[in-house]
Amino acid sequence: MSALEPVIGVEIHVQLRTRTKMFCGCELSFGDPPNTHTCPVCLAHPGVLPVTNREAVRLALEIGLALGCEIAPRSIFHRKNYFYPDLPKAYQISQYDVPLCGRGRFTAVAEDGREIPVGITRVHLEEDAAKLMHLGGSGRRAGAERSAVDFNRGGTPLVEIVTEPDLTSAADVAVFLRQLRQTLLFLGVSDCNMEEGSMRADANVSVRPAGSTALGTKTELKNMNSFRFLERGITAEVERQRATIAAGGRVVQETVHFEPETGEIHPLRSKEEAHDYRYLPEPDLVPVAPDPAWVDGLRAGLPELPQALRARWVGEMGLSHEDADVLTESPELAAYFAAVAAEADPKAAANWVRGELRAQLRERGEEPWQGNVTPARLAALLGLLADGTLSVPGAKEALAEVIATGEEPAAVVARRGLGQISDEGELTALVDRLLAEHAAQADQLRSGKDKVLGFFVGQAMKATQGRADPGAVSRLVRERALGG
């Protein structure tokens, strides 16, 4: 039997960053006491009617445009019927056969520069369900004595992004989702906070013989709240399906759940024994027919998106794909980096922003764009490093000072005397002293043990608190010891 390859499509739900809910004027909230953001509409009281939030439509259009979708000239809402306590009307207002946006494409780029093109089937608008709290027992649904519903979240505007089954590995899914998230963050349409549930992903997973174009039976991996779990879950589910088929079994179409603690896959009992959503056109809402001028304006107003930034940075600045990927993690970080790179060597800027700067700031719980290290200061520091004024250790120390005080790097260097010692006379005197103090090591050096060179450089750094120019020290030790 030929190898079985995974075929994966994903469905992503993203809470939109509006002020109010999708169909009523209740303010969005997170973490407030239960049922403090509800009204007759989002509690589905008898006789109420939904009214669509224009801002939610705008944000959904921006997402569609950013993903290269066609915008439907006229889209409608449907009712998706099922009973569940978190769904007060017992139907979700969603879009069905005529979504707002369709047929797009998003190309993710792996760390090695490999392109991962993913077809976007649709981007549609809908409303979020409420939050269930389980009381007694384990605090989960199963075993809880009773449950209770908090409708604060109910009716939050959601966009559902559905992809074609174009992904072929769990790792690619992770790259795709991370970069899609970056795009959404750049658009400013959502917080995309997976822990808080403002971005959620489901994966449809199947396997098929390599080279085949037919699709196998798929299972749906539900509600993963981190990319890491999703990646692990998909891997586990692919393995499970391969094992099932290898054992002569068949994959059943069902919803499955990944248990991160045990790494196991379990079938999830479905919301309704028989899934039959009985979609019907929502008579309480009229069609959304976005004015082409509005759509054109939104398209023109889109920010430069991370895909484009990454391509530009790799092409123009010679950054690695990995650097580019990390630096477009958030729009703030990308803007910060771009500002530094405009005034300093881009590769050095990438190294320092990704590495030392973030490492030092992490202890303080700060982000690069928040603290004292303005892009101009970091660029100035990198300049001092490039022209030899600072050694790498000196630069790190200077950076720590800038972070703490907000002083200009040049001022820090002067005040703290952090400048690199490159003065030939000063260094020669130092080297001579070290050779005399460590006669045994000097002899070893003369007898050809090159390794000892490092010892003297280390001593020189120690003696100067890291300010000695290591290259010059190394050269002078040879010259003075070997007389060459």
Binding site: P40, L43, A44, H45, P46, G47, V48, L49, P50, V51, T52, R79, N81, F83, P85, P88, K89, A90, Y91, V149, D276, R278, Y279, L280, P283, D284, L285, V286
Partner: protein, 477 residues
């Protein structure tokens, strides 16, 4: 005062002949003495308080101090609203329907909530979970439905006018059976916010009154766009209180399909006499055909139940309303809904769920939506030839209590004349046009969308010429 039209009550109030407090007290006394079973509950204290406040206020809004009754399908803040169902027993809404709020803003005083078929599903008001309503013309007969209480209370002088809702005929048919005027406006004319939904693409709120002028006056305060109802319309011109006496040049099409075998001879004769009056007043009557209206009933009994199956899914005993105790969630849902919905509601939920279910959708709901297109088209073609179409409102006069409760389809036939207009979303009204066997016969007039003024003009001229006495025998004037 209770025998007066709303218009006459307004005049008396303005002339200082009566105070709102006295007027409301008189109507409350009538409404409290309720052998017809019109009211599910009165809000006597609330009505008295509002009447006193209006008497004391310097401003006199247009309907200041005039009593009105409201069908229990409309949400009224803090006043129990059951929709005729056990599942909403004791339910006190936290908000008031836009239509009711508009009337209250215009000074009207709600005196109580009227009986109805449960969730507005029925044509006789016998599907109320609480009580029967009797026809003031004959206590052994039905008032029609589903707005039977709103029709009966106006006929019985318990209120000068009232609000009802019409999905397939629920204002027009009881108006016809109770010998009063009832109007269903163009779909979208009146905000549905606060109207407990039965079939959202069909439901409309409208007035019951004893005169066409009163119906027009009430409607004039109801129409217009409501930001809380996406399907409500900006109204093109004010609704006028009609004064027309002639029908010169008016072309009226008499719907042939509704004047045949299925319609009682007495009803046909009364409608034909009314057509004679149209000609006497200078109008012309031409026979007209609405071929697809033959499929109207079938189409309606797919679309309305389908929408109702979704609309009534929210009644789950979690956020409001009654519940039946249960151990598990599934038992809770099935037990609560199974026990607290009445038979007709369950029938329609079942029918609608079936029509939308996988494997049946295309054959039922999908087809019905397309037949609806044909019905819309029929009317468009008719209105290329005539200004208004006329037909009986109901194929029969008021039938006996219990006569049709055993066969749901027999009951459904009661709306055969009104349903096609509903599917097309058009305005229509029913006026009494005579008696058959001592019981009122309703004439239905329907027009193109937004033709309310033309309809009211025609109805008023006919009403004046016909001179029907709306006072049922045995009811005190």
């Amino acid at each position: 005062m209770v025998g007066l039209s709303a218009e006459a009550q307004i005049a008396a109030l303005r002339a200082g002949e009566v105070s709102s407090a006295d007027l409301v007290e008189e109507q409350l006394a009538r409404a409290a003495d309720d052998p017809w079973g019109s009211f599910l509950r009165l809000d006597a204290d609330g009505a008295r308080a509002r009447a006193r406040a209006i008497d004391a206020a310097p401003e006199r809004p247009p309907l200041a101090g005039i009593p009105i009754a409201v069908k229990d399908v409309l949400s009224t803040r803090d006043i129990e609203t059951t929709c005729g169902s056990r599942i909403l027993e004791g339910f006190r809404p936290v908000y008031t329907a836009t239509s009711v709020a508009r009337l209250e803003a215009a000074g009207a005083v709600v005196i109580g909530k009227t009986n109805m078929d449960e969730f507005a599903m029925g044509s006789s008001t016998e599907n109320s979970a609480y009580q029967l309503t009797r026809n003031p013309w004959d206590a052994d007969r039905v008032p029609g439905g589903s707005s039977g209480g709103s029709a009966a209370c106006v006929a019985a002088r318990q209120a000068p006018w009232s609000l009802g809702s019409d999905t397939g005929g629920s204002i027009r048919q009881p108006a016809a059976l109770c010998g009063i005027v009832g109007m269903k406006p163009t779909y979208g004319a009146v905000s549905r916010y606060g109207l407990i939904a039965f079939a959202s693409s069909l439901d409309q709120i409208g007035p019951f009154a004893r005169t066409v002028r009163d119906a027009a006056l009430l409607l004039s305060h109801l129409v217009g766009r409501d930001p809380l109802d996406s399907t409500s319309l900006e109204w093109p011109e004010p609704v006028r209180v009609p004064t027309a006496e002639r029908l010169d040049g008016l072309r009226v099409g008499l719907v042939q399909e509704l004047m045949g075998e299925g319609t009682e001879p007495g009803v046909r004769e009364a409608v034909e006499r009314a057509m004679g009056v149209v000609e006497d007043l200078g109008g012309t009557v031409v026979p007209i055909s609405l071929p697809s209206s033959e499929q109207g009933l079938a189409t309606y009994y797919v679309i309305a139940p389908a929408e109702c199956s979704a609309n009534l899914a929210r009644f789950d005993g979690i956020r409001y309303g009654a519940r039946v105790a249960a151990e598990t969630l599934l038992e809770h849902y099935e037990g609560t809904r199974g026990a607290l919905f009445g038979p007709e509601v369950k029938r329609r939920i079942m029918l609608g769920t079936f029509a939308l279910a996988s494997g049946y959708y295309d054959q039922y709901y999908g087809r019905a939506q397309r037949v609806r297109t044909l019905i819309v088209r029929d009317f468009r073609e008719a209105f290329a030839q005539v200004d208004l179409v006329a037909s009986p409102t109901s194929p029969t006069v008021a039938f006996r209590l219990g006569e049709r409760t055993d066969d749901p389809y027999q009951m459904y036939l009661a709306d055969i004349c009104t349903i096609p207009v509903s599917l097309a979303g058009l305005p229509a009204l029913s006026i009494p046009c005579g008696l058959a066997d001592g019981l009122p016969v309703g004439l239905q007039l329907a027009g193109p969308a937004f033709s309310e003024n033309r309809l009211l003009d025609a109805a008023h001229a006919l009403e004046q010429a016909i001179g029907f006495d709306t006072l049922p025998p045995g009811v005190e004037g």
